[in-house]
Symmetry: C2
């Protein structure tokens, strides 16, 4: 990160030397608002300005106050706080955690980073991953201090070599967002909704000295809001999340992600602040890597109930292609591997034929999501394998043979079909009665975004150095996870990089 780029001379310095800074025709954004500091009418001034109130923005606000910042403000364009973080499943990977010590699980930041690099398919950013893994437990502690509650056991999610994932008792990111928002308010952080970031304001030297906010913004309506200029003494943090719901931008990267493809994200995940970062000279990284979630269901909107249900149950379940009655993937492979395998489940005409995931009722009921899945009709209970097969039109004999074969793997501890790690399946045979849900991927997460360094500083394409006064954290940044992010690694990423941005701003 932040390596010197021999082919990118420092243009700003050069032009300043030429006496060109200040001329009206200089068009580099870092130079454009040249009269800003002297002529701008500032409506407000704050020590630290944070855009976005998800995990990253809230963690940054709390950390800044803890480090002694007197005046911290958080803006969100929506009428409520939390953004996509509230829609998140509340899964939080922490290496070498207290629960791992209790459960006797050997783990380390290096091991977690190695798992993530593998899912990243060779192009993830090791420095960023290791930085987050090393500070994940601090972030967990921040949520506990704020009042978050977690289940007293760990889960082993797809692509993780060991169980290391906490989950909030609400099985939702809201179980972290709500306590953090309360903590912010308790600490005197100013929290403003319906305040949409419009653009950055630079000074003569190219430093980011503030933002223009549209106050009274109504998302999705014609009311953009009233522009006011907000001065930032220490810095501006952009923590505005991804662009899963910006159909044009995601389709520019992948034409198959049309408006008809559903997403787990709320409609507000549109990424316009990211596009503003590119205008300010931020470097676009991995924009083409857009993740779909293999645990989602075609039978409900958004993240829904099935996602958390599947994430918990995959380890001791079998996913079956209904045409063959056979398994077609390692149920806890990384997300991209599983999404690709699911997307290949089609009828003769090429139409989607969502595969089913079969779990023994006695194991499914250990997680609170099962009740909701059955209650809302997005999962079904069957007393016999015959009923199950008839309902989903699965050939019965291959299905019976598959279940018997898989139960052999449960016994032996070795999955000879797909190499699934069987630790969490120990003793958990597939037996009637069954609970069954259907899976089909949804657009879930944008690996791409603006390039930052391990201090959460936004790197400039002009000179390959940080843009002074500008920070970014969370899904709006790109490069950390590579081609595919592992599940439960977004919360540590957002929280740690938000905290990191606060630390950087307080030191700058």
């Amino acid at each position: 990160m932040g390596k010197t780029n021999e082919y990118q001379p420092d243009r700003r310095k050069f032009l300043a030397g030429m006496g060109m800074v200040g001329a009206a025709t200089i068009a580099a954004p870092a130079l454009k608002a040249v009269a800003a500091e002297s002529s701008t009418v500032w409506a407000e001034e704050h020590e630290i300005v944070i855009i976005g109130s998800g995990f990253a923005g809230l963690a940054a606000a709390i950390e800044a106050r803890n480090l002694g910042a007197k005046d911290v403000v958080v803006y969100d364009k929506m009428p409520y706080f939390g953004g996509n973080s509230t829609y998140n499943g509340g899964l939080f990977a922490v290496p070498a955690s207290p629960l791992q010590k209790k459960e006797g699980v050997q783990d380390s930041p290096e091991t977690m980073t190695a798992d993530q690099l593998k899912a990243g398919r060779g192009v993830a950013d090791k420095d960023l991953l290791l930085h987050v893994a090393k500070h994940a437990e601090e972030a967990l502690r921040m949520t506990l201090d704020a009042g978050s509650e977690y289940f007293p056991y760990l889960q082993q999610l797809g692509g993780h070599s060991v169980p290391r994932t906490y989950q909030t008792t609400s099985a939702s990111g809201a179980g972290i967002v709500q306590p953090l928002v309360q903590q912010c308010k308790k600490l005197g952080v100013q929290m403003v909704t319906r305040a949409k970031f419009d653009h950055l304001i630079h000074d003569e030297e190219g430093r980011v000295i503030g933002v223009q906010i549209l106050k009274g913004h109504y998302f999705g309506r014609d009311t953009e809001g009233s522009p006011v200029n907000i001065k930032a003494k220490r810095g501006v943090l952009i923590a505005t999340g991804g662009f899963a719901r910006n159909v044009g931008l995601r389709q520019a990267q992948d034409p198959t992600l049309t408006a008809e493809v559903p997403s787990t994200n709320p409609p507000s995940a549109t990424g316009e602040a990211l596009l503003e970062l590119f205008k300010a000279g931020a470097i676009p990284v991995h924009m083409a890597y857009i993740q779909t979630g293999p645990w989602a269901s075609p039978d409900e909107d958004g993240f829904g109930y099935v996602s958390n249900y599947s994430i918990y149950n995959f380890a001791h379940s079998i996913s079956v292609f209904t045409r063959t009655g056979k398994r077609f993937m390692n149920e806890i492979a990384d997300r991209k591997t599983r999404s690709d395998a699911q997307l290949a489940c089609r009828d003769d005409a090429g139409n989607p034929l969502p595969p089913i995931t079969i779990t023994s009722y006695k194991h499914a009921k250990e997680h609170p999501t099962m009740k909701k899945v059955l209650k809302y009709g997005v999962g079904w209970k069957f007393d016999t394998v015959e009923e199950l097969a008839a309902h989903f039109k699965v050939p019965i004999e291959p299905l019976k043979a598959q279940i018997e074969e898989y139960n052999g793997y449960v016994k032996s501890g070795v999955d000879e079909q797909f190499g699934k790690p069987m630790e969490k399946a120990k003793g958990k045979y597939i037996e009637a009665p069954f609970v069954v849900i259907r899976n089909w991927p949804k657009v879930h997460y944008c690996q791409g975004g603006a390039k930052v360094d391990v201090l959460a500083r936004v790197i400039s394409s002009d000179n390959w150095k940080p843009i002074p006064g500008l920070y970014a954290a969370g899904e709006v940044t790109g490069g950390m996870h590579g081609v595919s992010r592992l599940g439960s690694c977004s919360i540590p990423d957002c929280m740690v990089m938000g905290m990191t941005a606060a630390r950087s701003m307080m030191k700058a």
Copy 2:
């Protein structure tokens, strides 16, 4: 392309309605140089301003003059014209071409597009590909009119379903660049070297009305040049190529593409104009898809002699992993498939062990590159398979068996190992004496860049509409080819989109 994005309201329109346009703190680049038209000191004014003198820039200049433009200028930052196009192999795919008719090959723009979509792995832009394929023959004619000469036969390159590729008799893009440069001069196009594009100049409405050029630029030295403002009456075309030699930018996308990884491109392929486009609100597409060439050699710098030699010979050769003596890929699969297969050829410690490509001398000598490959010591001739095996430390018996097995496929017309299309291998058995070269991938082409529509207009992230006055063509644009571009499809892309930009400017 250019689809309306429901989540990207037209900000410029909105802010203008608010009476905000013109305020010093408006930071959207399209709005920033608000005083430009009135206060800018213009050194020159031209009807059409073209940045870059590769295939795209030159084709645009000629087409603009042909359509009646009176005043066309082409700027290049280097002391010579042609950029990376001169280093190109001179391979030019044209569907339904005169040579195909002569050779009796059935082909169509739709067939070529289908091949390209397959190599693009589902994310290529069908509209752009089809537009280029439909106009490829016009582009070929432009080069013939200018005096380019081609071999009188077609080649079938990796990933193409039929032979459709012309090649200049110089086996180099110079065979197109030089005639086009002469044609430009003959037509009165103003051609300026050592003139580096620095940034765009916008008017009050956000229209691109000119550029700032650094005249007297010396690439790679401290002399940046003197800034002059050039007004463009009809429009500005950015045709500056890719960023294969910008180590920072390529490594941000793929950390393995360190400074140590060689490239076929000249040092000037650094992409700074692309980064300027992003500042102007252009949408980054597929920046992470960087292509390495599987026909390159570790025994020479740059594109070298082996690249064209391999491209011509792969169809009737076998590539062999020296540790096993066996083939390891379809020698005419698409570039990504082959590069990935070659990169997997390693010793026990994981160090590269470049595979060898074996061709019968009698077939290799049909192409003029063989003489150069042998003369410069980057290829070797062997009279017996024993000598060959001893030289490269290949186990002899498996190698002999492999050659015999492959010759069976030549006879049967079906490659049972890797499904290679055998049409061009008909009757071409692998027999002594042999010519052998080594292959290892080099960074060759950037699929990513700025989003354009089929009229070569640059799309704005502000409102998902074209940025008035701004055009882009060639490797600086992104999205057309998806994950992997097929060989010989860059020349038609560059030439057709350059011509298209000229047509759009003359109509605008």
